[in-house]
Symmetry: C2
Subunit: 324 residues, 2 copies
């Protein structure tokens, strides 16, 4: 008799564990914070620092209890490819400087005009608009300063790639370009494709760069690099969709910033475009896609994964399930 039973398709046990990621993050975050504090501390010689509140304003914007998702993404990707921990901390710091600069400038009255950021007064509320503007400017520069220093610990050719990746992701064809599209479309309808692109630039590009920069410090093969790139694209979008969902569903206390601002400012968001239910489903799809990419390419034949592949899955779960 012909056996028509198809062997049950091996259902994978490969899932992300947000809790496991949180635990790892708890462990890594203090190292990132310590390094960031050093970075700010050495950004200006004393005789310059004591002449203005610039350093304090930069520190206020940078050391504000953020989740450090970009830093953690760089660390996770770097560990996967055997990068040096000291080098990864430098990359992580540069990424957090760029992120902090963008938040300081976003919060300014001419942009989102936000008084609250992670439960604290924003930089311009505390130090005035001029100092906030300069603190953002100087944090951007600091990112490039960190990566071009003599002590990064990778070959000059890798340093140049790190610098180039960061510049591409954060400039006119990346984060700043996405911000500009966002500003320009307040109150206007946007096609789903245009909104997708805007978000890919505004949030996705830097998160993607974080993973790539981490990987650049190690030794990925060409195919691993492709996999990481694909995973990074899903993760970047996922992060933004969840951001939009949180803005629409969480209170300000949980978010640590003013909730519901996108809606009131008539900003183009996924929730606005798709409705809450569909946006949530979309986030789920992106999460599954990210996992699938990792599973197909980075797990062994027998389905086993290394700790560091698992960490990327956990990062995706963390991004999908976060509440602020």
């Amino acid at each position: 008799m012909l056996d028509l039973t198809v062997p049950a398709r091996q259902t994978s046990d490969f899932k992300g564990d947000a809790h496991a990621f949180s635990q790892w993050a708890e462990h890594m975050r203090p190292q990132v914070e310590t390094h960031l504090a050093q970075v700010i501390d050495t950004a200006m010689p004393l005789e310059i620092a004591e002449q203005s509140p610039l350093k304090a304003a930069m520190a206020h914007g940078l050391m504000n209890g953020g989740k450090r998702v970009r830093a953690l993404a760089a660390l996770a990707a770097g560990q996967l490819f055997g990068a040096e921990p000291a080098t990864l901390l430098k990359v992580a710091s540069a990424l957090e400087c760029i992120h902090a600069y963008s938040l300081i400038h976003d919060d300014l009255p001419c942009m989102d005009d936000d008084d609250l950021r992670r439960g604290q007064p924003t930089v311009h509320v505390k130090y005035g608009e001029a100092m906030a503007l300069l603190a953002g400017d100087a944090l951007q520069t600091l990112a490039f300063s960190i990566l071009s220093a003599a002590d990064v610990g990778v070959a000059a050719s890798v340093q140049v790639k790190l610098l180039s990746t960061l510049a591409q992701a954060s400039g006119a064809a990346g984060m700043a370009g996405g911000q500009a599209i966002d500003c320009h479309h307040v109150g206007q309808a946007m096609t789903m494709a245009d909104m997708q692109r805007m978000h890919r630039l505004k949030t996705g590009a830097l998160l993607q760069a974080s993973l790539k920069m981490g990987a650049l410090c190690g030794q990925p093969t060409e195919s691993q690099w492709q996999t990481l790139d694909e995973y990074a694209q899903h993760l970047g979008l996922l992060f933004q969709v969840v951001d939009d969902i949180l803005d629409a569903t969480q209170d300000s206390h949980t978010l640590g910033k003013t909730a519901g601002k996108d809606e009131r400012a008539e900003k183009p968001t996924y929730v606005r475009a798709l409705g809450l239910e569909e946006a949530t489903r979309y986030a789920d799809d992106l999460y599954e896609s990210a996992l699938r990419v990792l599973q197909v390419s980075l797990t062994a034949q027998d389905g086993s994964t290394t700790e560091s592949v698992q960490r990327l899955a956990d990062l995706a779960a963390f991004c999908a399930q976060r509440v602020n």
Copy 2:
């Protein structure tokens, strides 16, 4: 009989010629402008550029008929040490991007609140504050993008030095740090030493970096490098003192920006600290010092100079004698 006549000390013919520099600048500026236009043109892919006025705002801030002193300084120093013209144009563009970003942000209402820049409406007047903020941000990033691109034409180790020099000169320990001190001391007395330091950061650092970055693209010896550094310090200070003098003595039409603003804003300036006459004498001294450095170190035994050494003297004369 003992000959007591001391041979007449050779009086040097080594002087700067501002007019000669202007002529050379007329010749070089179109190349810089063409390159800047290309840089803006390729900063964003079309599908991103057409979604917001960011590119137009960046172009308005960058392509505004500036003197291109920083670009010209880099070209002059680079030519002295045999650097590749194509590489120098990239370095020059990066410097002008940083300078343009600083002007756009300086002109914002929360800073100098200036409506006019080189006879044109400032970027925020034309494109709004949010877009001006982002245009400045993106121009800063663009500078680092240019220098970290694959086509700069120097070894990766030199690229890293270029990037590091630019970041140091423009960040918290350079231009942005100087701006912060300036903002923080409006209406306050400052010691001459503190003011000196502020200006060294605010204007001097980037001008100095321009010369150094040009030189880095060539092959200076260690002693030539030292000479250039010393010359650059004098030139940086000279430029700022003349800036202060012009603000106090020229009309807005000649300056192409609002004249007398420093005085009205009670900003610490050399004119305010020293009086106009003494400030003018100080500028003369700095000019002479710059020439002396070049003469002692870079002219041949017989007093002859190469064309490119002469150009640095001419640059100093140009900075000393400019009217806007």
